[in-house]
Symmetry: C2
Subunit: 435 residues, 2 copies
């Protein structure tokens, strides 16, 4: 092997291809790809442009946040302790109508910065002016599966316009930023898009061969307001319309019947579990343990910062596990390893990226996170999975690598000017609220 | 006013005596006490031994963790995803029989270090060899209300011995470490101590004028195994025995009837809400919203690291609020300010320390925490309370002061050698498990 681009050595490795754990490991990266991974023996013979001595750290696959609205960092903490309905209609949606592309860019950069700092290397996003999120992905060095959102809300012309924009975005940004941008289409939800629009979205997605990212069964109230109290469930109506045939990424999935779960399993729908936002808005608990029994692929997301209020996937993993334990009154469900799987390889599968990322394996893209284990709250280290899920926080992330490129090293972000990103976002947010 | 010991200026202040918020404030400390607090005007005229420019930070009262077993950091991550009963009986209790005083000291120091790092300045602890925890309090500079635990478990002689030790500890360590150590007696729970022992504890506590720290209504299973399925509830039996007359600090309080809540309210029992550990062990949700309606004083705790797995009160505040919202399916309950109150002034009241700590006021002890707001996940700052509760983490704590003494400044712990505390605790834990 010729000279490598990057050698990481001396670290523990949690590869997430099975429960393989290497205590003293090394990873060689070449052309953005993991060229070799294994024990840290005779690393002194490996030639590399850059070497990272990662003693006291653990390498794991970059975390994958499968449901967020990154630019909503602008609204973090703005409306608190309020129900979803009034939260959306009285504050969030009115503010969103005032959003300019440059606002979205400022918020997206702040979100990308926060994600880098907390060990997320890939995220699935749905928002407006999504081209600005693509720009932030390009600038920050992260990987993103992006969708321009579609909200009809009873206004057909609006729905049509947003549909066109969503399709255009998907056509124009596929493979953007050296392939780090992937695309989906983003119908907001069954309560904000009409059945006919949803059918149209489904057909277009199938023609374009892209996935669909939507909110599903998040709020019974919102869906029932449509007068469907006695009719089919949200899942049943979507299934009947042929909407669930392609690759679907369905966030929340709280209000599901057993039949709904069966349908999601049969159609291979990818569920995104969003524990923190679901708790914060008091919406209900997604029955993840049952979904897993039905064989559904479940990934994990934070939602936007306006309803979480952070984009920290470590927190989402811990709270996600805890919420299932308390809901089922059973401490054995969703153990640490399983939820770490949700945050990595199962997330990759939900985004059709499982061949490229989600685990540390030879030939996969080098999306790697180093977590510093030399912290009081991570000592003693009896069990690496429980340390990572129940004790680690986003702030324990030391180094972040995407496509073999270092985005953060020893807590220093390399791709973004942290101070100016924070200032710009704060100014933008304050201006937006006063507009 | 003569020369002060410490001046902190240029920071926001969240004083927690009502919703007073100072945007650009200053705090003067003299002889361990807050000599003045207010706007940061003409601070250049204030003479002080030490000045801290705290621009970009917010000062708040040190957080108060009202229920923990600090030395259990040794067991962090050791037994995971297991029910309380087998968790205690198969792993924790057998290991605890092997504990030597020096093990407890090593674990306690690690816990104190973790608490300093995450902004806790005062904690209520119950464990064995509690004199070692007092020693760790003395060394670390923290404040602690400590109780030697009493577990009878059907063995009368054992119960008697532990009772004597608990009483001796309370007699000998009251006011230890320049008054930073306060004492209680610590009967473990109604399922692990006989009614006659509990009555004896109640009488002794009353004579000594100390509070009682116990686990209450944590597990229906454990209590019902005593054959009390149809008899009085745990609270009713304790009340009947006259046990709830004095100052009682009751952790968990999950399984309460409305009548139990009325009793707790009438007797002025202080409840400790322990959301993270309750979720992790799948035990149930304490009905905090109802308890507050009954006028019960509710404080907040983390429990030991073996069932949490961290001592981070910021996390406990966030999860504590979220858990009530999801339990009551109402996002408006337990808003940010209220849960911050639980973590500060209500915690002080639970420990009878409300005249000394829990809020930043002239004449109170200078137990102050500075949180660094210049972080991506804390931007923009729309609302300080929601930032502190829903977005901040323990790792955002920059500076910690207890009794006017700096325990950590700009992330550097001054009272403990961090590396050696971590190493010693890890070696001890590994040795203990193999013993």
């Amino acid at each position: 092997m010729g000279k490598a681009d990057l050698l990481i050595y001396g670290c523990a490795i949690v590869a997430m291809n099975g429960k393989n754990f290497i205590e003293n490991g090394a990873i060689v990266v070449k052309n953005g790809v993991i060229a070799s991974i294994g024990k840290s023996t005779s690393v002194e013979n490996i030639r590399a442009e850059k070497k990272i001595n990662a003693k006291g750290k653990v390498a794991l696959p970059g975390l994958i946040n499968c449901h967020t609205h990154v630019p909503m960092t602008l609204f973090r903490g703005l409306v608190e302790d309020r129900p979803l309905d009034s939260w959306l209609k009285e504050t969030i949606w009115p503010l969103e109508t005032k959003l300019k592309p440059e606002d979205v860019y400022a918020g997206a950069l702040l979100g990308c910065l926060e994600m880098i700092r907390s060990g997320t290397t890939c995220f699935a996003d749905m928002y407006f002016h999504e081209d600005m999120v693509a720009k932030a992905v390009e600038k920050s060095g992260l990987r993103g599966i992006l969708a321009e959102g579609i909200i009809e809300s009873g206004n057909k012309a609006l729905g049509e316009r947003m549909f066109e924009r969503s399709i255009d975005f998907a056509k124009n940004f596929r493979g953007h930023a050296n392939g780090r941008v992937g695309v989906m289409v983003g119908p907001h939800a069954a309560y904000s898009c009409s059945p006919s629009l949803l059918i149209k979205v489904g057909v277009a997605a199938s023609q374009l061969k892209v996935g669909i990212h939507l909110h599903l069964a998040e709020s019974n109230t919102m869906f029932k307001k449509l007068g469907k109290k006695r009719g089919p469930t949200e899942v049943e109506s979507l299934a009947k319309a042929g909407f669930l045939e392609g690759h679907v990424l369905a966030a929340h999935c709280i209000n599901l019947s057993m039949n709904d779960m069966r349908i999601l399993s049969e159609r291979g729908v990818n569920v995104v579990y969003v524990p923190v936002a679901n708790m914060k808005l008091g919406l209900g608990v997604a029955k993840i343990v049952d979904l897993l029994r039905f064989g559904v692929n479940v990934s994990l997301g934070t939602d936007g910062a306006a309803s979480n209020n952070v984009l920290d996937m470590f927190e989402a993993m811990k709270i996600g596990s805890l919420l299932q334990k308390i809901f089922y009154k059973n401490p054995t469900v969703l153990p640490a390893y399983d939820v770490l799987k949700m945050g990595t390889i199962d997330g990759a599968e939900a985004l059709s990226l499982e061949k490229n990322v989600g685990s540390l394996e030879k030939g996969k893209k080098a999306d790697i996170v180093l977590v510093d284990l030399s912290k009081p709250h991570l000592k003693p280290l009896h069990n690496i999975y429980s340390s990572l899920v129940y004790a680690a926080r986003g702030s324990d992330v030391d180094t972040v690598i995407v496509d073999g490129k270092i985005l953060m090293e020893k807590g220093q972000v390399t791709t973004l000017d942290e101070q100016s990103v924070m200032e710009k976002a704060e100014t933008t947010a304050f201006d937006l609220v006063c507009r």
